[in-house]
Subunit: 170 residues, 2 copies
């Protein structure tokens, strides 16, 4: 499909993680880690009314990722899994998606917690998290079943940005 889509960042995500090797691999393993989301001045008016929401959905660009593997070996498993059954950052369209806790908003700056995003990541969109739309506690999780207990044992590694010789991407 040839119809190219062009996007431009609307801001930047700041976090304590300048190195993918030390980064939590999901917000659920990043509890309490704080960061900032700063939107460009031209978009600040669009933040009105957002502070009433306890959680925000961030869409962002995995700017350190390049290429992809349709059968990566995830952090949480020992065998290759279909890319679209993983949250690996190396994807045909390297779009990231995280639900973060919104602590407060000061001008163009969202103070957020549970940040699993690398410092300097380009922000593409902010949406309000709405449990009636977005919460499905009963959902089943296929190959991940029984594996999430190990989540806190893992950190991201080089798989985030490049494909090392022996380990494929997460």
């Amino acid at each position: 499909m040839k119809n190219d889509i062009h996007l431009s960042p609307i801001g930047t995500i700041y976090s304590p993680f300048s190195d993918p090797k030390e980064m939590p691999i999901q917000p659920a393993s990043a509890i309490g880690i704080t960061g900032k989301v700063v939107v460009e001045a031209e978009f600040q008016e669009g933040l009105k009314d957002l502070e009433g929401f306890s959680h925000v959905i961030l869409l962002y660009y995995f700017h350190l990722s390049s290429g992809y593997n349709l059968l990566p070996k995830p952090f949480l498993d020992d065998e290759p899994r279909g890319l679209f059954a993983t949250r690996a950052p190396r994807r045909p369209n390297p779009l990231g998606f995280s639900i973060l806790r919104l602590e407060k908003i000061n001008g163009p700056t969202l103070h957020v917690s549970n940040v699993d995003i690398i410092d300097g990541t380009p922000l593409l969109d902010i949406k309000p998290y709405v449990p009636a739309f977005d919460s499905h506690a009963e959902a089943t999780i296929g190959w991940l079943s029984g594996k999430l207990d190990r989540l806190n044992d893992f950190r991201s590694d080089d798989r985030f940005s490049v494909s090392p010789p022996l380990i494929e991407d997460s």
Copy 2:
């Protein structure tokens, strides 16, 4: 911020909604509506292992949207709200996000339900829905509080694609 991001669709989303005017405005008001997500042949291998998940996250391009208004009037309210506190399709980066129920997969085709997406929408990414990461039943919803009971009374309208004279975008 000038660094352009280029994406290409990895497939297409098919639904009964060829006209934005008749479309549910969220999956929660589209219960039972079925549709298909077809990935291009080159990406089909990446669907392996996905069928074990009951829900999928789709990221897609609001291809009928153009422009945006930082203070749109939502379907569910009578006063303008900050764009980033709404799920309006007209956004600086018109990226859509829906969590759909995955019924089954046949080759390159995902059969999904609870579809709130217009027919022919370009698909950008598929991610597995994982309650431990994505379910926050306790989240608070600001201006939307008390308004979701009316969800089923609404359908999308012209606000989806253009900004009519009297009604701003959703």
